[in-house]
């Protein structure tokens, strides 16, 4: 069992719950976080191996957060998969420096495939 950590940031509790459940059977440890403002400190403390990031969140949006992560040398190469229900999500995500993008609602196998690919 690997000790790889996935940080999941989404302002919707339903999505967080569901994603936690999805990864229950996976070899990864999940750190769910509802407030995007806390992400920076969690990243510093926990050094996750991958982030699943929502775009539309109050106060600090996913793409803003992603841009700050990309400016920081320690997180410049951190794999970040953006998951969003926004129609322009794909463009916004890649413009901000996302490693991958998955549209909501998503397919389990698609998400798992992408996560596994980046963790390998």
């Amino acid at each position: 069992m690997s000790n790889k950590k996935i940080l999941i940031c989404d302002d919707d509790e339903g999505i967080l719950d569901m994603l936690e459940m999805v990864f229950e059977d996976s070899p990864y440890t999940v750190i769910p976080e509802k407030n995007s403002l806390n992400i920076k400190s969690i990243v510093e403390r926990e050094s996750p191996d991958l982030i699943l990031l929502d775009l539309w969140m109050p106060v600090l949006s996913g793409d803003q957060l992603l841009r700050t992560l990309r400016k920081n040398p320690s997180t410049i190469g951190l794999p970040v998969i953006v998951i969003s229900a926004s129609r322009e999500g794909r463009q916004i995500a890649y413009d901000a420096g996302a490693t991958g993008f998955i549209a909501k609602p998503f397919d389990f196998s698609e998400l798992m495939g992408m996560v596994d690919g980046l963790m390998a």
Partner: protein, 521 residues
């Protein structure tokens, strides 16, 4: 004697030394004249007529015996206040020559116009001894003069009426032009403003004085001095290509940042307005803002609707993965149906947003070349997995990269395939044909389903249209094909249908292989 002297000077020398014979000859000559001639004796009281020729008798209708001894005034009868009489009176008193047109009356009372020439004869002592009056009946000339004047009056009246009509219709048109809620200005071939309506002045908070006569490009803070607009307007006169829906976003003086829509046409009329340009300007700032807000609202709404949908879908997928071993077929059926309708709900939410954006022209296309055949194969595979009853067969190939928005084209194909399956429930096969035609790729989806009547074929691409007998049997909102057509249209391709009732339908679309230069919105 005067007369003899006159004769002596050689003016009269017809029958030498026979004055009588000469006199007779002259009298005959006078009688032969067409003009009436009289002589008065100014030395006698009241200047009576002492001679008249035959023409005068004929003209006046009086006999010689009724004329001689009378003053000329008897010819005017009771018509005594004529201005001509005063002129004659003055000429006689001063012994001068005069010519007048005077109304005279024949013996039977008929009016005749007399052009009267009066000439005095002055004696050796300087006194006026006689007057000679030469008369011409100018009644006919007077009549035609009067007719002419009447005609002229009539024409003037008509001209006045027509001018009035014209002025009225002009004022009517003017009031329309001043009332319309669109800014209108007319510019001459040198792009100087010739006129501007009230709405223009009101919209831009300017006065007529600072507008009319000024060059279009010098107006305000040079808001219309845009190279692209200059070119379009310069091209209008020689090519007659109108400027259509040209958008100008600018920080205008007095009114701030606004979005204006410009339409310009050359005036086609021959004559003084030829080659002027009519420019209509519409403030679409608010309209655009409302459209934007509607798009934003639908964007947010669809995002918010999709969020719980994502959670539900996640749980349904989780359930599908951990189905208890002893679950019956019914349970599995419920699960797969739930998953299927979740996908439909997701599509409907996406369609709503698409329709709104297409309407406002805000559908964003990310055109990147992609492998057309591969896209078709993947899309068909995805649909095939979810369909047990139908076999989707791909035939042909294009072998090209198409510069288009792949996800939107896949959306169109998915929609066409879903329709083919949905509306042909009894048939087992759906055919997909791919080909390269000239510089286009062509894709056709053929089913052997219920078909579409010719009347419905015209309407199925309209928004919210659902073919009449379809409503009860097949659910849907009726926006799928509308979106498909708009997407293909936005790619400069065409989407069309060929169908026969009860035989089946073929939906085809084409896409250009080369990207158009100006297709970036």
């Amino acid at each position: 004697m005067d007369i003899l002297n006159k004769f002596d000077n050689g003016e009269f020398a017809f029958s030498k030394d026979d004055i009588k014979a000469d006199f007779k000859l002259l009298t005959r000559a006078l009688d032969a004249s067409y003009s009436g001639i009289i002589i008065t004796d100014n030395l006698l009281p009241d200047n009576p007529i002492i001679y008249c020729n035959e023409a005068f008798e004929k003209m006046s209708g009086y006999r010689r015996s009724e004329i001689i001894g009378h003053n000329c005034r008897f010819l005017q009868g009771a018509d005594r206040s004529q201005r001509a009489r005063a002129i004659i009176r003055e000429a006689v008193a001063n012994g001068e020559v005069c010519t007048v047109d005077i109304r005279n009356y024949r013996k039977n009372g008929d009016l005749f116009w007399n052009e009267l020439f009066i000439s005095p004869i002055v004696g050796d002592d300087g006194k006026v001894t006689n007057f000679i009056g030469v008369q011409n009946d100018i009644t006919r000339r007077k009549k035609s003069e009067q007719d002419l004047r009447a005609q002229k009056d009539l024409m003037e009246k008509q001209v006045l009426e027509r001018t009035k009509d014209l002025k009225e219709s002009q004022e009517f048109l003017y009031s329309i032009i001043q009332t319309v809620r669109e800014s209108l200005i007319v510019i001459d071939p040198d792009f100087k403003v010739v006129s501007a309506n009230d709405h223009f002045l009101k919209t831009f908070k300017v006065s007529l004085e600072e507008t009319v006569g000024t060059g279009l490009y010098e107006l305000g803070n040079h808001q219309w001095d845009i190279p692209q607009l200059r070119k379009l307007l310069t091209d209008i006169l020689p090519t007659n290509n109108p400027v259509e829906d040209f958008e100008v976003e600018h920080d205008f003086p007095h009114i701030g940042r606004k979005l204006m829509l410009l339409n310009a046409h050359r005036i086609e009329l021959e004559g003084q307005y030829k080659d002027q340009i009519l420019l209509a300007i519409e403030d679409i700032t608010e309209r655009r803002e409302i459209e934007r807000r509607k798009d934003d609202f639908l964007s947010i709404a669809s995002h918010e609707l999709k969020t719980p949908l994502t959670t539900i879908k996640g749980y349904v997928q989780a359930m599908e993965r951990m189905v208890p071993k002893d679950s019956g077929a019914r349970f599995l059926g419920f699960l797969s149906k739930t998953a299927k309708y979740l996908d439909r709900l997701n599509n409907l939410i996406a369609e709503l947003l698409d329709v709104s954006r297409i309407q406002t022209g805000n559908l964003k296309l990310h055109k990147v070349p992609f492998d057309f055949d591969k896209m078709v194969k993947e899309t068909v595979e995805a649909i095939q997995t979810a369909t047990q009853n139908h076999n989707i067969i791909i035939e042909g190939f294009s072998g090209v990269q198409v510069p288009a928005d792949e996800s939107h084209i896949a959306q169109v194909l998915t929609n066409l395939l879903s329709n083919a399956i949905k509306y042909a429930p009894e048939s087992g096969q759906v055919h997909v044909y791919i080909s390269k035609v000239s510089n286009y790729v062509k894709l056709s989806v053929t089913d052997s389903g219920i078909g579409i009547s010719p009347e419905d074929q015209k309407k199925i691409f309209e928004r919210f249209y659902r073919a009449g007998d379809i409503q009860q049997r097949f659910p849907g909102m009726g926006i799928g094909l509308y979106i498909c057509e708009q997407i293909i249209k936005n790619h400069d391709g065409t989407l069309w249908v060929e169908s026969e009732k009860e035989k089946g339908s073929t939906f085809s679309f084409t896409l250009p292989i080369q990207a158009k230069e100006d297709n970036e919105q």
